[in-house]
Amino acid sequence: MKKLIAAALAAGLLGSARAADITVCIWGTITGPDALVNGMSYGPRDYFEFLNQTKGGIAGNKVKLLLLDGRYKLDEELKIYRRCVDQEQAVYVNGWSTGSVKALRDQITQDKVPFMTQSYASEVLDPQKLPYIFMAGPTYEQQMIIALRDLAKSGGKNLVIMHPDNEYGRGPVNVVRQSKVIEGNGLTLQDTIEFPYDAQDLTAQMLRVKAKNPDMVYVQASTPQLLVILRDAAKVGLSAKKFVGNIYNISPAIPEQLGANAEGFRAIQVYSDFGSDIPAMADIKAFEAKGNEIQKRDVYYMKGWFEGQVMAKAIEAAIAKNGGKVPDDIAAFRQSVRNEMEGLKDVDTGGIVPPASYANHQGSTQARMAEIKGGKYVPVGDWIDAR
């Protein structure tokens, strides 16, 4: 046992040689406060595994995959990043929290490693200053703008915004408020309500909302907080129809736990849901039919599958540019993958998102509204572009 522990530590500290030509390193919150949405880390892993099993990898080269648990802890995520870049010699890194990407953004540029972030924070999206960081959809601010446009289009006027007292809640709301986009759409912001991240009762806040009688309440919060909001809204007689949430409010837990009180709630849908009638689902089903277990059957898994698709496309293009061979020099390989990523245009994602282009480092800036009807999220309306 002692020898095993020593071997493990030695392997960990001394580093290891490249065991495969293509290594992709993913870290997510496998355990921790955000684990509810960790399908977006299993998604890319499964997509690359799907390529390994059905196509022999990328351009005939098996992909070595690592899925590590960052536990939503900054120090752990910073450590994992170094392992991915230094020890594992990953050609592409897929990382989790907004905080870690913010902390690492200069190092990612310095290391010149392509990095797909799970965050939607606008602070980590800048193709000029942060040329190696890519995102998988509209930023939180753009998601909010899509909801505002929908409100304006439907003739609504008055708006209340709710958000928790953390960065995820406060940051995007401040950006949108300062950009004057609310007024620009002919809307009036009646109130902004901040509440404790771990609040268990928001009845008082709901009474405040009721007194304002807005046409829409935009919620920049996660699913656990939304459950409290909609529960207490029902308590004071506010319909869920008034509430709109972002991408992280598409969760089966909401209709399951709230039942009729969730009916009419709408959320921003960037990716087609798991089980939708789209070509990409055929691949997922084929993958499952080979005996692979799908850890999460939700929209976040679809996001991850989409990330896997575009990451693989860029790697494939980089290998093609090198005469069909994996470049020997990891730095050159990373640089080439980054360049090819930026050059991706109208990638067919099998219907998960509209054709995706990465010149803007976002892939897609489109989203549509999904409404809870009969206990399920149903897309309502067309794709709206936030730009």
Binding site: K79, R82, E123, R170
Partner: protein
């Protein structure tokens, strides 16, 4: 040069050589252990030497990180770290003035309250801390040149760890250091011996705060982000665990405890990967971590330092480092103060 000092210097030199050989990831781990060890030595001074349980250690580290970040971003170069230390000293004084009137558990609860107040301030003192977004920190500079490599940070951290160890080693042998031990054992007796208990406790808190601030500054420079969620209560608990696992009151124990608590999660992860059970271990890691610490406390309550002492003794080397109870030290104090009886 005494044996512990010689050993500390030699180990530091080996650690620096190690950082240069181990690559970037290894250097980062060395660096993480060195920072944790500075923080653990700082807490050991207050809790292990002076007997005051402090749950605001994470808050003091946070003050250090923000202060170093602000000073570093303003171009204060190497002065950023002493500034971090002094900011934490000022905070320790503010906490200490009301809290040090209390004893034992009541003091611990007061530091707990201070921890929550500091967390609140990190979130809401936006002009200074940048609130929930966190303060972005530029790389540390030495004479105007930024340190970019993890190896560079590791060497700085190891050097500062050695300096911290030597200062504490020296301090323990001064009258002030001995008065810490008397206060820890019995405040009434300390008063009877003419020791100003409140002043002694305050000095312990200030010195401990200074080194916590330095460790916090290093954390800030490495992460390049001082964020409220990084300095929460669980970090304070980690530091308490470090000094207990290492052996309360033992300086080598504090360093060993820091290494143990910092490296154990990585060791569990790597073992999981070897046996292809990393997914399962990932879910159980926190529990495994807690379970190992409980087992440790049950079967070796005096910590890693006691195990180390036994190993050294078994090889025929004499040592006086050990667990909390140090009758020899107290004997010296008794005689230096004219005796207790």
């Amino acid at each position: 040069m005494s044996r512990p000092v010689l050993a500390a210097v030699l180990l530091s030199v080996l650690a620096v050589i190690g950082t240069l050989l181990l690559g970037r990831f290894g250097a980062y781990m060395m660096h993480a252990v060195a920072i944790a060890a500075i923080g653990a030595l700082s807490l050991n001074l207050l809790t292990g030497f002076c007997g005051q349980i402090n749950f605001a250690q994470a808050g003091l580290l946070g003050v250090g990180a923000y202060a170093a970040g602000l000073a570093g971003n303003a171009g204060w170069d190497l002065l950023a770290l002493p500034v971090a230390g002094l900011a934490a000293v000022a905070t320790a004084v503010l906490i200490g003035l009301p809290a040090l009137r209390l004893r034992g558990l009541y003091f611990a609860i007061a530091t707990l309250a201070a921890q929550f107040i500091l967390e609140y301030l990190f979130k809401f003192a936006e002009p200074i801390t940048h609130g929930v977004s966190g303060l972005l920190i530029k790389p540390m500079t030495v004479f105007g040149r930024p340190i970019q490599a993890d190896q560079g940070y590791a060497i700085v951290a190891i050097t500062l760890l050695l300096a911290t160890f030597l200062v504490m080693h020296w301090l323990r042998r001064t009258d002030l250091g001995r008065s810490f031990l008397v206060v820890r054992e019995n405040e009434v007796v300390a008063k009877g011996m003419g020791i100003n208990v409140a002043r002694t406790k305050m000095l312990a808190f200030m010195i401990s705060g200074f080194f916590a601030g330095i460790a916090g500054g290093l954390i800030g420079f490495t992460a390049r982000l001082a964020h409220p969620e990084s300095f929460g209560m669980s970090l304070s608990v980690d530091y308490v665990a470090m000094i207990i696992v290492g052996g309360l009151g033992s300086m080598p124990g504090a360093v060993l405890g820091a290494g143990f608590i910092t490296l154990l999660p990585e060791a569990i992860q790597r073992l999981g990967e070897i046996f292809h059970i990393s997914d399962q271990l990932s879910a159980l890691r926190e529990m495994t971590f807690g379970l190992l610490i409980i087992l440790f406390l049950i079967f070796e309550g005096r910590g890693l330092s006691a195990i180390g002492s036994r190993l050294v003794s078994a090889r025929g080397w004499r040592t006086r480092q050990g667990g909390r109870a140090e009758p020899l030290e107290l004997q010296k104090i008794k005689s230096s103060q004219g005796g207790l009886e």
